[in-house]
Symmetry: C2
Subunit: 339 residues, 2 copies
DNA sequence: TGGACCGTTGTGCGCGTTCACAATACGATG
DNA sequence: CATCGTATTGTGAACGCGCACAACGGTCCA
């Protein structure tokens, strides 16, 4: 043993059996709540378990039943974004709640560097994880590939195009973006631009598509400024560039609340008033939305529910059920003061 | 098997051995990089591994070597706080980086409800986790007790009083609080109050102690408003109460940036200008600090480094090293515009 | 009294690894 | 040529558990 603290040998079923004066099989039966064990045997065993401080070895159990009662939630993101994004935490909590109800343990796995990705793939294939929830995957993501190769029960939050018919839970990003952009127009804005972030993933691309839909014939690619991440810094940068190209801009659709928060800073720096001079709307209804000044009009993204639904989808697969249709969740517009 | 997709039987060492025409022992040797295996055997085995798509079963390996190359990071927090707290994410990332370097997998475990706590304790004792990093434990925390009972290598971030001589990594909350409060006084504030959050944990209590230190003879318990959580809502609530009791207040030490953000809202609602009428300082230097208007003067908490150091402490214990002294990290004052 | 049946219990095997040991082959050395 | 050491390999046991099966003792009915 490698600790200095001389870790004492753990009690095993055999110890319990010995202590209780029964056989391993009987102990195993009470452990798993199976029938055919007499009351006196059960009591003796329970007493013995308490006495020797027995706790089943999960590795051994996993080995024989080929499952570990643990499911992973994988986030493949660069550092910075994860720290800033409150959505991920909510998804995590929602998934945990659903799993907890069925006595599954959630294990949150993060893939940061490419080295992480490799190690993670090994870990997943090691049999210590029964299924996975994958958040914010990109098209061509190596994690996605690894999961498919392992035929591991999985559910995606969001919908990268290359996951085949794997179950996913999502919102209608495109429709929501269309709706919120339209209402921006309905309130009288005529020179509307967009800061489009994360075009390399489905949510980003779909939000842009919704924007294009809404503008219809008025659409002009010069109205869109693209930035890599859903981050405050990128939002600010994007807004600055947009202001330069459209000095008379009077409406902005930022593809996330964080992006909107950055845009708000840029607008303030440029001396524009919100919502008087320019109206702005975000996406997510994260804690950013209320924290901004003025509070953001945005799309409510049910992050907790997404996590919960994804978890349930994985559990269903574990039970052998087949998930046919994607699970789509509602995401209403929340109208506040920024537009 | 429980999946509908007919998960194919995984290849085992035996399959590889058969394919390569050698014995299990030899396969095991190349798998673990041990000496005494001929070049031709090694090549044959590597080819066989690739051919049959072998990947070692971790449960089986864990069973015999009594270790799993995975360490847990436990956060025991009610929902809301975790979602709001950017520190936790940074700690997580720091720990992950350190573990990744030694090829350990980080598994993030959250304990939300009391049911979670129980399940978590079972999970930890199951042998699938070699050690744990514990964040934000309270005194008397059942998780702490479970970990001690298991004699699991552990490291705490922060310093609950009842962890005995378990290794921990922390900052000098008391000293930092003292320092920042003093500078509040040095800039001419004379009627200074504090919003003290989370007094049930060491960080909260120590920050209050530092405040008391700084005020010295001027201290009066009526200057302190206590709230349960490091949250924006509680900060706002606390500030409102403080304003009521000290209408002439001209300086506030909020025990975290989130609390300060809430206080800022309350001050704005009360029509006080910051920093002209009242100066305010926070604690953490989280993303809140820069996001507030005006930007917060605060204490820089090296969250990523805390996580990294805690991870290293756990790994050291796994190697059999004994961690004598607590690990203390620097936390400089960051002076901005809110005071 | 014999057999069928039921509840209850014990036993052996296998899950996929690693590890210690024995066994083998080969060359070098006396 | 016998002996020894060294490099390499195979084999059995063990890790802790669940499961299938056999075995036991008793009750009930014919």
């Amino acid at each position: 043993m490698e600790t200095t603290t001389e870790r004492r040998r753990r009690a095993t079923v055999k110890d319990v059996a010995l202590e209780a004066g029964v056989s391993r099989g009987t102990v195993s039966r009470v452990l798993n709540g199976q029938p055919y064990v007499s009351d006196e045997a059960r009591e003796a065993i329970e007493a013995a378990i308490a006495k020797v401080g027995f706790v089943p070895n999960r590795a051994a159990r996993s080995l024989v039943v080929q499952s570990s009662q643990a499911i992973g939630l994988i986030v493949h993101e660069p550092h910075s974004l994860f720290v800033e994004d409150p959505n991920i935490a909510s998804i995590l909590l929602g998934a945990n709640a659903a799993l907890s109800e069925e006595d599954y343990q959630l294990s949150f796995l993060i893939a940061d560097t490419s080295r992480d990705v490799e190690r993670l793939a090994r870990y997943l294939s090691g049999g210590l994880i029964d299924g996975v929830i994958i958040v914010s995957a990109r098209v061509g993501d190596p994690i996605t590939r690894a999961v498919r190769d392992l035929a591991l029960p999985a559910a995606f939050v969001g919908h990268p195009r290359d996951i085949g018919d794997a179950p996913y839970v999502a919102i209608d990003n495109r429709g929501a973006a269309r709706e919120i952009t339209r209402r921006l127009a309905d309130t009288g804005r005529t020179r509307i631009g967009m800061i489009a972030a994360a075009l390399d993933r489905d949510s980003g691309a779909d939000r842009l598509a919704g924007f294009v839909d809404a503008l219809g014939a008025d659409f002009d690619p010069r109205r869109v400024e693209s930035v890599p991440l859903y981050s405050v810094a990128d939002g600010r940068e994007g807004m600055h560039r947009l202001l330069e190209r459209m000095p008379d801009i009077d409406g902005v659709f930022a593809s996330s609340d964080a992006v909107a928060a950055g845009a708000l800073e840029a607008l303030r720096e440029a001396g524009r008033r919100v919502p008087e001079d320019v109206g702005i709307v975000g996406f997510d209804d994260s804690s950013w939305a209320l924290r901004c000044d003025p509070p953001l009009s945005t799309i409510h993204q049910p992050a907790g529910e997404l996590g919960r639904a994804a978890a349930k989808a994985v559990l269903a697969q574990l039970r052998g059920e087949r998930i046919e249709a994607p699970i789509m969740l509602d995401c209403p517009v929340v109208w506040r003061e920024s537009a």
